[in-house]
């Protein structure tokens, strides 16, 4: 028997960062990006879910503090709710911050649309020893109330059940009309709506009234079972925000993060390196008799390209683990507060510390994290300089080039120099932008300090593994694809037989010469030659040029591309021999220039696309890309030219 399906529209509304998007995803099965910060939901998201005979159409509204404030998002949300009123509003509240969240509930109540109140993140409230009186809340607002934990499996069923009964018999929700309306209910119902075009004075008066009422409601509903705020948390703040120890502790933490990333990551990295070398040898032996074309594709393209990336997974994993730990423990917000003093001098708000920090892992999530910055100017400035934070994908380049050109005692200082160059340049660039294009005050710093807590392994683990998976997926898709393209471009068009050297001897030199001629004849060789005049002043040649082209696809491809160019994949010790070839071909000065160019110029394809998406402007992304590349070129050329004169 076929039943007719009714459709009910449900709007999800709530304060920023109350776990709304998590619930929305649970309900609709959509993968919407969930961030740990306020302001992640930029556009409205829609999704549906069939429950019994009702199809629920969910709309996830951007996070709202209230409708009176002038932000674009809040106005858009209000427009949506008044122009095409949904059948039900599901108001998601952060249980641990109920008082502030109830302000919005009061405003939603005024719209006269049936409400479902979902007190989310109840687990957090429980750890803070807060107890919420659901019955009382339900009576006060004449609306069903659910307490949920966004991560719990049964949550969506409970919500759907509540929505279902609300949809089926709209009127009969806990109508306690027999009970005498109590004072608070009377006051909730007598609140006057804020009108469009009302004077600032009277709006603020109403805002104050609502806050006062929200405070009284919260007092009536929430019971503190322990001390109001965890005193341990305050004591920890006393240490980490200490006027003398705060900054050294902060610097120490940052040092520790990088130390952990590079030292702990080194062991598993060498295992992976060994694994891929063995694999290349095995595959090489398997196709020893085959035509070299297919063999070189497998070894140089597939194993070399992907292996070169996967090898750095441990480093990336440790860096993201450290970032997740800092974030989940609550330190990140404190770090942003401490960093504000420095960052505001160069024209960036303290909150941009978090995206900048993530930038050392990968620019793409870092650019996404700039959404926390309220001011568009601040956001664009941060986005502009994020690619200068040397990301994890550039580590392979340094790992190859630095040992090739510098004696062992110089390697660590050179690596530090590279990172510092990026940071100093970012600071100068931000300052320059703030003084010219994005003029204006840095938005003053105010940020919620979350309660300190011992990081949950589940959250930290999921976050780290999620990032690692993204990285691996990149290795499997973008980088594999790009390596393949580059390999194709290096292999075709084939050099005609008659142009091959006539003395067809089998000596190693003749083979190398033959390979080189083929390369020059190929598409990538021609492209490399085409850009060579530009690269000459910084000491690089067309071969390095082709690797730069590869680095646009993904920075890691640079290394794989050099491997293909110098055809060293099938020799005994891959990295060592590539290094010795580089040492023979280029001077340490040129090596430095190449490193600098990789650090500063040509942000990768993914970064470019993400900047275009997040800044909502292709022009901005293009401008930034060009500006950084030109800057990189200028710096590399200066270093080369000055260096040559100085060294002579």
């Amino acid at each position: 028997m076929k039943r007719s399906v009714k459709s009910i529209r449900v709007a999800l509304a709530g304060n920023p960062n109350c776990g709304k998007s998590t619930l929305f995803n649970h309900l609709t099965g959509l993968r919407q990006h969930i961030g740990n910060y306020a302001g992640v939901t930029v556009e409205q998201m829609k999704g549906t879910c069939l429950y019994r005979d009702i199809e629920f159409q969910f709309v996830d509204l951007p996070g709202l503090s209230g409708f009176w404030s002038s932000s674009e998002e809040e106005r858009a949300a209000k427009d949506y709710l008044t122009r095409e009123p949904p059948d039900i509003i599901m108001n998601v509240l952060d249980s641990a911050r109920l008082e502030k969240n109830l302000f919005l509930t009061l405003e939603l109540k005024e719209l006269g649309i049936p409400l479902l109140l979902v007190c989310n993140m109840i687990d957090q409230a429980n750890t803070m020893e807060l107890h919420i009186d659901e019955d009382k809340l339900s009576r006060l607002f004449h609306a069903p109330v659910l307490c949920t934990d966004g991560h719990c499996g049964t949550t969506s069923v409970r919500i759907l059940e509540a929505l279902y009964s609300l949809a089926v018999d709209k009127g009969s929700v806990r109508s306690d009309s027999d009970e005498p309306a109590d004072e608070l209910t009377r006051r909730i119902n007598s609140l006057k709506c804020m009108e469009e075009g009302e004077s600032e004075e009277s709006i603020m008066e109403k805002v104050r009234d609502r806050y006062r009422l929200a405070g009284q409601l919260s007092e009536a509903i929430v019971r503190h079972e322990g001390s109001p705020v965890s005193s341990l948390s305050d004591r920890l703040d006393g240490i980490f925000l200490h006027r003398i120890w705060g900054i050294p502790l902060f610097l120490g933490m940052m040092y520790l993060v990088f130390q952990l990333t590079f030292t702990l990551g080194d062991w598993p990295m060498s295992w992976l390196e060994m694994f891929f070398e063995k694999m290349a040898d095995r595959v090489g032996a398997l196709f020893a008799a085959e035509d070299s074309l297919f063999r070189s594709f497998l070894i140089d393209g597939v194993i070399g390209g992907c292996g070169g990336v996967i090898v750095f997974l441990p480093n990336i994993l440790f860096l993201f683990l450290a970032i997740a730990l800092l974030e989940d423990s609550g330190y990140m917000a404190r770090a942003a507060f401490l960093a504000h003093r420095f960052l505001s001098r160069i024209g960036l708000p303290g909150k941009s510390f978090i995206p900048l920090m993530i930038g050392f892992g990968c620019s793409v999530p870092a650019i996404m994290a700039t959404r926390t910055l309220e001011n568009r100017r601040d956001r664009l400035t941060a986005m502009f300089v994020i690619p200068l934070m040397s990301c994890g994908a550039r580590v392979p380049i340094y790992a190859l080039l630095i040992p090739a050109f510098f004696p062992i005692e110089w390697r660590a200082p050179v690596l530090w120099f590279v990172y510092m160059t990026g940071i100093v340049l970012a600071a100068l660039l931000a300052l320059f932008l703030k003084k010219t294009v994005f003029r204006g005050h840095v938005s003053p710093f105010v940020m919620e300090l979350p309660v300190w807590h011992i990081p949950s392994w589940k959250t930290v683990g999921l976050q780290t593994l999620g990032k690692a998976w993204l990285y691996l997926r990149k290795a499997g898709t973008v980088i594999l694809g790009f390596s393949f393209l580059l390999w194709l471009a290096a292999a075709f068009p084939r050099l005609p037989q008659e142009k091959l050297s006539d003395r067809s001897s089998d000596t190693a030199e003749a083979m190398i010469e033959c390979h080189e001629r083929q390369l020059e004849y190929s598409t990538i060789g021609r492209l490399g030659h085409f850009i060579e005049p530009v690269l000459k002043p910084m000491g690089a040649d067309w071969k390095i040029g082709t690797a730069f082209l590869g680095a646009f696809g993904a920075k890691e491809v640079f290394v794989a591309q050099l491997g293909i160019i110098y055809k060293v994949a099938d020799s005994e010790n891959k990295d060592e021999s590539l290094r010795s070839i580089l040492t023979r071909h280029y001077s340490p000065l040129t090596g430095t220039c190449i490193i600098l160019f990789c650090l500063i110029g040509m942000p990768c394809m993914a970064t470019f696309a993400m900047i275009a998406r997040e800044s909502l402007s292709w022009r901005f992304a293009l401008l930034q890309w060009t500006a950084l590349t030109v800057l990189a070129w200028l710096i590399a050329v200066c270093v080369q030219q000055v260096g040559i004169r100085f060294l002579n």
């Binding site: 911050r97 502030k100 200490h242």
Partner: protein, 72 residues
């Protein structure tokens, strides 16, 4: 007095806020009549306070726009 002059551990009530920042503060829940607990006045150019159960860190430049009076 302004918020930055309140002592650590002191409980104060908001009397007034700077006109140009009114909406900004109101979004945080800081409106005249709000009770604030000062948790830390640090040298790092700001203060940490508790308001409506939420702990905020605010830079000095902003905090000095809030006028408060101590709750006796």
């Amino acid at each position: 007095m302004s918020l930055i002059h309140a002592k650590e551990g002191e409980r104060v009530t908001v009397v007034d806020v700077d006109e140009s920042y009114r909406r900004r503060f109101a979004r945080l829940g800081v409106v005249p009549g709000t009770e604030i607990n000062i948790l830390a006045q640090s040298l790092h150019g700001g203060c940490v306070f508790l308001c409506r159960g939420i702990k905020w860190a605010m830079e000095m430049d902003m905090a000095q726009r809030i006028t408060v009076e101590p709750i006796s």
